[in-house]
Symmetry: C4
Subunit: 406 residues, 4 copies
């Protein structure tokens, strides 16, 4: 029993370091830095190894680095798999099923591809060149560590229709430009413009404004068409920029920090949800950050969301009843939202605070699917109202409930 407790204690620690990260454990930053450094080193080594002279001189070093990386990534993968049962939602299943499920998450598959081919290669001979290319997957491990990359990825995903439309316009223009140039220049330059696919090389280099200059039109009519294609290229350039800029400006208004699946999986309020539901709620939440002393909610403001404290501490200033503390996992602001009224109290960040915000539409959707969450929220809110109504003397004797009304 004691042995298992120690075991669980360590499993919790490993989970905090690898999955939760940030300020969850003192060693988390160091471990993250080490893994990021190893990934970067692998990328540099990958490129350097293709230089013959470098490969000849430092070959053994590269092999050693590779072996070391495979070892580290293997251990990291196994530790992640072992400690994943610490996630509240997965802790309700048999461990082997929890781990199997966890292993199918996209980031875990990338993690696996980063080192697995090296093992496969001992069992079943793979072409060494292909084996080497698999090492590039190690770079994708970086996604886990860059919130900005996740934001950008989300913008690209949100705007994929429009970007695909822009690509379509580009390809239609490409075909028209190539066909036009093929008719105008094929006699003057039979090699460069002898067919539409050949002319497409020039057309693409021009439309994207790359303009290598290895092939240029020489006839007056060809130059005229070339000029039109250049101008169209500038216009073409504008489309993806406009699309991404629009998407990015909308994204950045809402998502000051990206909420990840592992962050949400830890919130006690959502303990009853399963894997997919957490993935879904992750998309609904966004986060805000407050410096100490900054009011997060002000009495008299319109309630625009329910706030969940992800990290840090806050203080509710109840006019008649002194102050109350809110800590990680507590929530506030839900009553103003539910009752379509203004906030009654100031809530002020005590330490540096990060909160998750559920806006009205997200909360409506959540409670419709999980009425038990709303029941819990209403219970906590009710308790708080009773406390506020009771004289301050008595109130200070009790412990503050899980959430605070603001």
């Amino acid at each position: 029993m004691a042995g298992e407790t120690v075991w669980r204690h360590w499993r919790r620690k490993v989970h905090d370091i690898l999955e939760v990260g940030g300020d969850a454990h003192p060693a988390a930053h160091a471990v993250t830095a080490f893994i990021v450094a190893l990934i970067v080193l692998n990328a540099v080594a990958f490129a350097a190894e293709t230089v013959d002279s470098v490969a000849a001189e430092y070959g053994p070093w590269f092999d050693a680095l590779n072996l070391f990386s495979v070892a580290v990534f293997t251990v990291e993968y196994l530790l992640r798999l072992w400690s994943c049962v610490e996630i509240p939602m997965l802790s309700r299943m048999p461990p082997w099923r929890a781990r199997l499920r966890f292993a199918t998450r996209p980031m875990m598959i990338i993690d696996l591809l980063a080192f697995a081919p090296w093992y496969v290669h001992w069992i079943y001979p793979i072409d060494l060149r292909i084996l080497r290319v698999f090492r590039l997957f190690r770079l994708l491990k970086l996604v886990r560590y860059s919130p900005a990359l996740q934001t950008l990825g989300r913008v690209l995903a949100d705007e994929y229709r429009a970007l695909f439309g822009a690509l379509l316009i580009m390809l239609v223009l490409l075909l028209f430009a190539s066909t036009g140039m093929y008719f105008l220049e094929r006699e003057a330059q039979p090699v460069a413009f002898g067919s539409v696919p050949a002319a497409a090389w020039w057309a693409l280099a021009t439309l994207t404004t790359v303009g290598y200059g290895d092939v240029v039109p020489v006839t007056p009519l060809g130059k005229m068409l070339g000029g039109v294609v250049m101008l169209l290229g500038v216009g073409m350039f504008a489309l993806p920029i406009a699309i991404i800029a629009t998407g990015f400006s909308q994204e950045s208004n809402r998502h000051q920090f990206v909420v990840t699946w592992s962050m949400v999986a830890r919130v006690p309020l959502f303990a009853s949800m399963d894997e997919t539901e957490i993935a879904e709620i992750t998309k609904l939440l966004y986060t805000r950050s407050y410096l100490p002393g900054v009011p997060m909610v002000r009495a008299g403001d319109v309630g625009d969301g329910m706030f969940l404290i992800a990290s840090g501490e806050a203080v509710v200033e109840v006019a008649a009843a002194g102050t109350r503390r809110l800590k990680e996992g507590d929530f506030f602001g839900e009553m103003a939202l539910l009752e379509h009224r203004r906030h009654k109290h100031d809530v002020i960040a005590k330490s540096r605070c990060r909160v998750y915000v559920l806006d009205s539409q997200a909360l409506a959707r959540l409670t419709r699917r999980h009425p038990e969450i709303m029941t819990h929220i209403r219970e906590v809110a009710k308790k708080r109202t009773e406390i506020d109504a009771s004289p301050p003397a008595r109130k200070s004797a009790r412990k503050a409930p899980a959430g605070e009304k603001a």
Copy 2:
């Protein structure tokens, strides 16, 4: 009589598959995919055929594909023409006139140009090269299938004045740059800079930042002017991007999905309108999409538009009278808009819902031209108010009217 009923039944089906598309008929997606694939295949074949070696080897295959495409596009065109009388608005005219009118719609003309030249060529000999170029029109058929392309097209159309202004600035700069370089470099490089049009080739490649490098200034003064032109090029680049980005960000706020003429032509409320009027209202409407369980309108929100359910089902939550269902073709939210007040009830999407939204300005314009529509809206609204006022017990016995007040 029975024969004609079968006939009409099929005509309706064909119309649903080809014109309405989407979820209107199970086969619609497959037919769309097939036509898009055929268009793409035609584009690839067009390019491949210009490669002599490919043309020599696979010539008969290309001819077969062309014949097959002509056949498919002909059948598609004729079916569209035949079934177009299913559109409510066209069904009020004699069939031949309805079809003639429909044939003059821009997309139908593109459809015709995609295969007609092949037939003409049997009657009147056309140069085979020109005949081949006409095949590129088949690509334009894609516009029908890409909402993003339509959005982008609309942005370009909306901002054409500003884009034309940017082009004008570009051409003025081009003329100044070419003239300057002609004076500075014509002695050093009499071929490349011997005249203003010749110098314009360099100037355009520089202003658009293509920079082939086939012609570059060599004199110190020429290089200095070249540097200025490069910097101006960066500025020039900014104009179309700024214009399109601004237009796109405004467009994307309103048009989450593009409403097409055929979609609006199907709404029962607009049955009394003619072709042009529907085209006009198409520009005024925009659509929103809701996942199941998401509130579309919330009691207490300010009424900002009238909502027409294009597909899916919704539920009105009348506090005192239980809920009522809204289905395709029903509308809600019009009373809050007309009476400048807040919504009285929640309306929640039951299944995945797409709605058309008419904002206050669009509704005002519509009712001014079609008072009979407003009369109809007011009648439905009045009925609903009576029902709401009556006791819930009686109300549940009646059938819900065509629209619901929210």
Copy 3:
């Protein structure tokens, strides 16, 4: 006396055609089209004339075109100068002073430079090459005819500080890049990178992503620095685009059409202002356009501006008193603005309407400087209120006052 009346009648017509333009006179569009065509033809001829073979063959035609253009532009200039006294504000001075003042307006100076050098050349011999370059000024006459060009010009003018800052960053980076490359490559390529100015040619072509490729780094360290400079170039590119896009999106929200000095000079309400004041108010006004049947102001909306009808007709729907017509020069909406209240009546565009909008800040500034304008506005508003209060029967007998309250 009769002769002078005919004279004035014609002067008014010439003024309407040349200065006011648009729909002010049936011939205005034709005259504008003719002048624009002549300007474009001049630009084409200017470029074509530098091609020796074309110049040799069509020389006399170019000379004829030039002579014809000089004649037309001279007549246009003189007519503008002659008719300018029709502008209300200039009509209060002695004609010679009015014309002298008008001649110093920027567009009039450009007009003068478009043909004057040709006359000077008969009196004082000018180098023919310089004379030819002066012809390029004719292109600038286009500014008068392109509202988009004026919008873009205004954006560039508004953001000149930020653009200058971006240019400064570009030049600082250019100096650093050139210096770096000069140290790294000057031994390998003493001609291309032998001095910082020489290296700047490469650095500028790279930072602007033009990339001619006539000079490229060849040493490994040089290529590394080259890569960094390319990446910086992409970042540099972003600055002017971001600046112009931001400026443009703000501009396009306010200025749907550009208001010009001549448009404002015609508004009777501003008759007491002088030249500079009209130039100032021109910057404060913006315009909106409405299709027939569209409400311009709705009862119940918050008053956000005073509206002046620039062209078209509108109708005020006074609940108790039927409707009243508003025509060119009338104003409405000022009371809601002055009294910080909501509009009382709907105002609906009868024909296609263009209005000038003075927002609250602009109106405050205007009335502070010209109390007599406010007095006039208040008088008109008072009259209208009296009329509204009187029974409808009597009201319809009177003529509608100059402005209508909404």
Copy 4:
């Protein structure tokens, strides 16, 4: 004593000219222009000196300019250091400590680096080439004089995470593109694509759309990959532009003029704050500018900030009590903000006014840390209310207090 007063008088003047700048002293503009000109001249000389022929002919002149610049910059630095004790916040420490602290501000370090190496070189021999490169630091002195540069710098600093993410995507794409091209082209072009780093030169030139054209793929598969990389390049280009455009548009809405540390350090209200706190409040403040006669705050508007007059004069229009003047250092609008109500009076700019605005969040944060500031604000506000309540006749006899309530 008298000597010291003269001394202090001059120190104040020097401080006004060098640190405060703008309209603080008549000579400030001239001194600024002189220093900016000297910096630009240094940059030009730096580049010109690397041209051998120029260096040979004008060598002594360059040496003289350098000596003169070192002298000017030394004097400027020493004067700044000497006069810095005029800053209210630094005046409370012993002079030597104030000056030591001031010397560690970033701009002072840049100032030092602009001339110090020249002195060091007399004591300890430095390589002359390195000595020359240090002269480029003089360019960075320009930052002090360009508000636009500071705005751009702030945008880059704010968005550094997203920009770093974009760089990461660029580098990942670069590695994939280089690796792909290395496999496809290394046999056809063993020099240009013989290793991944070698191929990266081509990949970077293509992804950034620079496109030198010194190396281009020649195999069909290589050209295909090249085409994909070009298209990705256009997409890559969009990311930094979107990021910077979004950041810039948000920045430009708030910061019409950049507030600098020295500007805030002069506000009497903040006299009790130390160096870091002023640096912090500098980030919270933004400025607005008003022309004479323009209302800065209008009775009835919602209070959105507290206003501090940085320069110029304003007038409060108290309905019952005539007007009151506000001058540099006075504040207004704080009561509407603190009491969540609308402004009671109009405040109108009398001369050209620049104000600092503290919005509600910034004010809350400030008063939480510095309760004494809030106490002062409340005292001034209370005094004003008493005055307003007293009959106008008595009030006009008193002097207006330091701040005015609006």
